[in-house]
Amino acid sequence: MLYNIFIDPFMQMGGAPDLLVQTLWEGLVSGVLYALIALGFVLIFKASGVFNFAQGIMVVFAALTLVGFHEKGVPAWLAVILTLGVMYVLALAVERVVLRPLVNQPDIILFMATFGLTYVLIGIGEFIFGGEPKQMIAEQLFLPRGAIDVSMLGGRVTFQKIDIAAAVIASVMIAALAAFFQYTRIGRALRAVADSHKAALSVGISLNQIWAIVWFAAGIVALITGIMWGARSEVSFGLDIIALKALPVLILGGFTSIPGAIVGGLIIGVGEKIAEFYWGPLVGGGIENWIAYVIALGFLMVRPQGLFGDKIIERI
């Protein structure tokens, strides 16, 4: 028994390094996608302190809108722009209808409001686009297809081109976001709001405007995530379960840290794939569903604010 748990999996890893590389790669790719969703969460949490449960459904909603526009005969590039427009309107609407009346309410109330938003978005999305899964328009968006086989370590490792594209696009987007935060006027305002709402207000930054911008930014992140995720599988509301997968990523990285979201995403992605592949068979498989939470819980017990989170200071 102990042998099976502590020694055998490592023997397998050593025995077939190509399989290990393949598993690591799959883990990294799903980790990147988790990180992207977590990124949307972090953006909103930093700027408004709202724990946005609706991020996962925004991913689905954005992807569905994109596909929906394309099905109506709109060319792909225009569909992307129109979808961005929809996400902007959504951001404005959320800020005006949900956030503004609830300003200064306790965290859990805002959290629940985003729950309500999740349901509204599911309802609207199903109402307009129907409940059946859709195909992502990967080719029209010039996303590569097929796979590259690489011989290495005495075996063959398959890299899907779409996965490589996802990793590249995600890195570019994260770099762009970092630059946006660091060097632009709005980015500086966003960081000011994240530091302190009151101080930001006192130097003339409009909170409402910032919130709309940050929800729009989260909407863009959601659209890109949706395209990537949709291209790997299909676009359906079943995807909202991935939002739940982003939660352990978040707590692992800390709610307020963008690097945390990325590192956390990678750790969770790799961890759950490796665990499923090497330890899953011991208990009958399917542990992918909960191992992420257990990993995150393990980290939390050591660092209650996550790996990169701000230190929690409690006062009376």
Binding site: F51, V97, V98, P101, L102, Q105, P106, D107, I108, I109, F111, M112, A113, F115, G116, L117, T118, Y119, V120, L121, I122, G123, I124, E126, F127, G131, L244, L247, P248, L250, I251, F255, V283, G284, G286, I287, N289, W290, Y293, V294, A296, L297, L300, M301, P304, Q305, G306, I312, E314, I316
Partner: protein, 359 residues
């Protein structure tokens, strides 16, 4: 006009601290109990009882469980569905291993198993707070959900993985299984819910409940005042899971009558119950009933009410509108009254007391 407390003088401390200090409230609760226990079983159709009242009572009980930990102690839990599942499976195993013991005893005892598991998963709450804890309870939800599917011992190795609720009797009348009439099930359920509400009310108004609320309001301050956080938080988790476990057991035995349990106790169920607690009102027992009633009635009206008045909508469209409405309602109630329906009810009572000369 009729809701006045003029002339009702409290002569003792306990009369002043009573749960229903005003005579009209006591009359009101007696009338409600009378309607629930006599009028509805006599006049309600089988459909009304089995698809409106029974789910309403089951969810009220589950919401009460979640409210103890989230509303009264301030620890967000997203594992309600799983804790309900533990209760259902515990009850199933107990009644198949010891078939001669009365099912009511097993339904209540299954809560104990749920409480033990809930307390175990509540352990991280000492170190982890707020949303971080919410995610930690998700670990419980997904892990237990996985167990319900992967541990065949739980469902007695049946090929489909479904629970078959056996027939059990109370005083010679079938109360579970295929032969039990909806009315009997309803009455048994009502008895359990009334009993457990009464117990919960007493616990929460007493020392234990005050401890919970102190922890909710600020746990460091509570600790400084001499409340030991570990026992307080674990008691909250255990008590909450006890209620959830009983709710799960009655859900399986008195409502579903069997089926694939893993589906019934998934993460959506947890969210559903969280909605009830939030809409009903955090930290309020009556709010649990309000929330459960509202979230139960909306889908039923959409499903059966609209076709009845001539608006025929497909079941799929009804499902979509249901999502839309529930989401909209959540946002609406949060904006109008973040403290839920229970607070609205309090405001209404206050208005009634001063009507028609409000000051």
């Amino acid at each position: 006009m009729f809701y006045r407390e003029a002339g009702q003088f409290k002569k003792t401390y306990s009369a002043d601290m009573a749960v229903f200090p005003i005579l009209q409230d006591r009359i009101g609760i007696a009338v409600i109990l009378f309607i629930a226990a006599v009028v509805i079983p006599l006049t309600g159709s089988n459909f009304f009882i089995s698809s409106v009242m029974v789910p309403f009572l089951v969810f009220s009980l589950a919401a009460m469980g979640l409210n103890i930990v989230t509303g009264y102690t301030g620890l967000i839990s997203l594992g309600t569905g799983a804790f309900m599942g533990v209760g259902a499976f515990a009850c199933y195993k107990l009644t198949t291993i010891f078939p001669d013991v009365n099912i009511i005893i097993w339904i209540l005892a299954s809560g104990v198993f749920s409480a033990a598991i809930g307390a175990a998963f509540g352990l991280p709450s000492l170190r982890i707070k707020g949303f971080y804890l919410a995610v930690a309870t998700l670990a419980a939800q997904f892990f237990l959900e996985w167990c319900f599917v992967r541990v065949p011992w739980l469902y007695n190795y049946s090929a489909s993985g479904a629970i078959q609720v056996p027939q059990r009797t109370l005083f010679g009348v079938a109360i579970t299984g295929a032969n039990a009439t909806p009315t009997t099930r309803y009455l048994v359920l009502l008895g359990i819910v009334v009993l457990m509400t009464w117990v919960a009310s007493n616990i929460l108004h007493g020392r234990v409940g005050r401890t919970f609320m102190a922890v909710r309001d600020m746990d460091i301050a509570a600790e400084l005042m001499g409340i030991r956080l570990l026992p307080a938080k674990l008691t909250a988790f255990a008590l909450s899971s006890f209620y959830c476990g009983v709710a799960g057991a009655v859900m399986m035995f008195l409502w579903y009558g069997g089926g694939e349990a893993a589906d019934a106790f998934n993460i959506r169920q947890s969210f559903n119950i969280l909605f009830m607690v939030i809409i009903g009102g955090l930290g309020s027992l009556i709010g649990c009933f309000f929330g459960a009633a509202l979230l139960n009635i909306v889908p039923i009206i959409l499903k059966f009410g609209l076709p009845a008045i001539g608006l025929a909508i497909g079941s799929e469209t009804a499902e979509h509108i249901n999502h839309l409405l529930v989401g909209g309602l959540i946002i609406f109630f949060l904006i109008v009254e973040p403290h839920g329906l229970a607070r609205l009810w309090q405001i209404t009572k206050q208005k009634l007391r001063t009507w028609p000369f409000p000051y």
